[in-house]
Amino acid sequence: MADNPNPAMEDTTAAPAKKKGVKRRAFLIGGVAVVGAGLFGIKLADSNAAKKAVELTTGKGEYNFATWLKIAEDDQITIYSPHTDIGQGSNTGLAQMLAEELDAAWDKVKLVSAPAEPAFANTGLGRGFLAEMTGQPGIIEGIPQSFLSFIARSMNLQITGGSTALRFTGQKTFQMVGAATRAALVEVAAKRLGVPATELATADSKVIHAKSGKSLRYGELAAEAATLSLDSNPKLKNPKDYKIMRQSMPRLDLPAKVDGSAQYGMDFKVPDMRVATIMAAPVRGGKLTSLDPAPAMAVKGVEKVVKLDNAVAVIAKGYWPALNGLRSLSPQFSDGGNAGFSTASIFKAYDDLIAKGEPDGEAGEGEVQAALGANPIQAKYQVPFLHHAMMEPFALTAHHKDGKLDIWGGMQDPLATKMLAVEVSGLDADNVTFHPMLIGGSFGRRLPMYMEIVEQVTQLAMQLPYPVKLIWSREEEVQQGAYRPQSAAILKGAIGKDGKIAAYLNDYAQTESAESETTFIYDLPVVARRHYEYASNQQSGAWRSVNSTQQGFYNESFMDELAHAAKADPVEFRRRHLKPGSRHLNVLDEVAKRSGWGTPTPEGVARGVAIVESFKTIVAHVIEASIKEDGSPKVLKVTTVVDAGSIVNPDGAAAQIEGGTIMGLSSAIGEAITLDKGAVQQSNLTDYPILKLADAPPVHDIHFIESGAPMGGIGEPGVPPAAPALANALFALTGKRIRSLPLLTQAKV
């Protein structure tokens, strides 16, 4: 091992990379900073992590391969996923990728959550982030796997988000592990059968020698194969030979999800457990200033009232007495000086900032202003905060006993959850265990940047003599969110004599820059996007597809405005600005063809188009819509074309596009979190209307293009084009441009 020039990085159990209040982008860039700090001259053996993985996963007759795979003597294959399957089916996809390269018998493949331990930090994710953030996939090729593993452990990287599971973990790790293990099994079989490895084939968890008709089961070979060192750069299959990938394998987790047996964090139970519920300061940033616990203590079943810095919790025998106890209280909270924030005040601040014209990190301003000329086409767009509304409210159980802390539940980054509990409890990492459970939806809400429930339940457990399950009421869930930011943009465009856009400017204001998540797809002579930073007292959350939702709405609505100004068809106008032969143009042409773009529609029906690239995947929707008697929109049909490079599980990918489209439509039509005097005005799903079955598209035609481009995400990219495609259809129908969401006035600010 060479000397480590940065000894601080040696300590893999140090405080979490993520501190409270660290923003999402800082987190990502932080990863690259770690890499940059030690990119050269380090070669770290990773034997400690591998040894720990063996300890954590294997029993008698079981053998671990490269941390993520276990083969048992009875041929059972267990894959450890560092991702939390939050419903997107990614764990089934990951299992397909590993099993394909391993040539495993699919019916004996099982996938479980990796332990929330540093040994299972996600190397592939580190590799993927590194490649994507630097824009140079090549630079990672020379970096040893052991070093990438070390980086991931240093960052506590076990996160699910950014549509990364299959494209990073799958491609960068799981396919390699499968292929390398297969090679080791073949090597052992060759020795035992006394034949050259080149005469051996693999299928259904067996190594087969066709000439002699002999075969050996993986279970028979595993013990010896596990002693070999695995090839770090194994040869992967030609996609034409795939038998498990690119197939619509049924999801592994569904049987337990239709009979009530699936155990979510909400369902966890241990003997002697109490139930707590909590109320934090309604004005974010405020503190608990006074509290009389007596009314709660008078509620039958209530055992204790606990004051936290900014919240009050009631502990009881069950949720109902805990909730009644909490509701009986009249806690006083300060407002942290945040009472001045309202939806209107934030929009006003945005307007003022953009008018002042001093964006962050400005480049090319003079050029774009000159190209826009004196009379550009101009429009202002506004979108509200959005709530994730995961169906399972937060619920974590914690128990502190004999110096050890155990926590059970579902979070998007189990390892970061553990490390936050370590930080809050003051215990050693060895004495804190997080047990990941199924998650009832997340959409970004359970990411490590805003896991206040982990802090709360840890604080409760450290002072209680029994296990406690902390459940957030739906009201708490709605009012204490980590919302998609409220945002506004002023867009300007100029159209040249050739009917093409001469200059395009997108000035947008919100908490953080959207640059890392949004891709501007059009090829224009002069284009600038400028961010104006403004923070309210609300947390800036990653909401499914992150900043691509509002940026997709802004750009694709404004492209329609420019098309209208140029008296051009919206599809034809977009074509003018996409490079010939590009994937984007291909997707647009395909969606136009499949949707019957340009063909007549029935009276009262119109089409709208939008195309957005996010997470390296290009999605175009054409939406056919009409207007109901009550004035609300009715989506009649969606035609979608997706180029995600390649698809691992077509039916699973279609499910993600269907769901993403519906979430995009739901937010466009009815959803808004609004603020008054610094506090959220909505309180439950009654005043935060989520689209229901009757309003979901009755027809959705989805087509995937296998372009062979680097694999993009699939969980998020269906969302962003939904709102602009609907808004553009409604413009075609009514001539009224929609520049503010949500569409339904009753939910408007």
């Binding site: 939050i86 419903g87 089916g89 619509s248 987790d253 569904l254 337990a256 999800k257 239709v258 009979d259 009530g260 047996s261 155990q263 979510y264 909400m266 369902d267 139970k269 039958k300 069950g318 949720y319 109902w320 007495p321 509304a389 995961m390 169906m391 399972e392 409210p393 199924l438 998650i439 009832g440 939806g441 459940i471 739906r474 009201e475 698809i647 077509p650 039916d651 990918a653 279609a654 499910a655 269907e658 769901g659 519906i662 979430m663 739901s666 439950n684 799903l685 009654t686 989520i690 689209l691 229901k692 079955l693 009757a694 979901a696 598209p697 009755p698 027809v699 959705h700 035609d701 989805i702």
Partner: protein, 160 residues
């Protein structure tokens, strides 16, 4: 107070405050956690069960009001030999669930709808299936209900 009821064909006696919602008695006292807590105000339907055959949002009915009644939960749908109810099987065949959290309630609502209508029309499905699914599995819920009642799959054309 002690309250007697019948859950999934078995007599159950629980000690609970009379205003406790059926949901919490099922989850915390009877130990059946397949019925989910989503909103607590009957807005989402994750807690749907059958009370004397009627679809009921169990977060908003007091245990005292179900005394002596027959309650069926998601755990009670399978037949005695463990065979899935045809609606549960249709849910797997159509690969409906994503996160799965709302699906117990969705399935209970679908079973009640089918018991009432036999072969529900699209309009009846629209009217009856008002449970919220944040993952957006609605097209597959419709497809599964149609498949379970012998109707041709319509609407969503998958990719495969």
């Amino acid at each position: 107070m002690a309250i007697d009821l019948n859950v999934n064909g078995k007599a159950v006696s629980v000690e609970a405050e009379p205003d406790t919602p059926l949901l919490w008695v099922l989850r915390e006292d009877v130990g059946l956690t397949g019925t989910k807590f989503g909103c607590g105000v009957a807005a989402c339907g994750a807690c749907s069960v059958h009370v004397d055959g009627q679809i009921t949002r169990s977060c908003s009915i007091a245990i005292a009001d179900v005394a002596g009644k027959n309650v069926t939960t998601i755990e009670g749908l399978k037949s005695a030999d463990g065979t899935l109810h045809k609606v549960q099987q249709a849910w797997i065949d159509a690969q409906v669930p994503q996160c799965g959290y709302c699906q117990s309630g969705q399935i209970m609502a679908a079973v009640a709808l089918i018991q009432q209508t036999g072969r529900p029309t699209d309009a009846q499905i629209d009217e009856a299936m008002t449970n919220i699914c944040r993952c957006g599995t609605y097209p597959r819920i419709r497809k599964a209900i149609r498949a379970a009642t012998g109707q041709a799959a319509a609407a969503v054309k998958g990719a495969a």
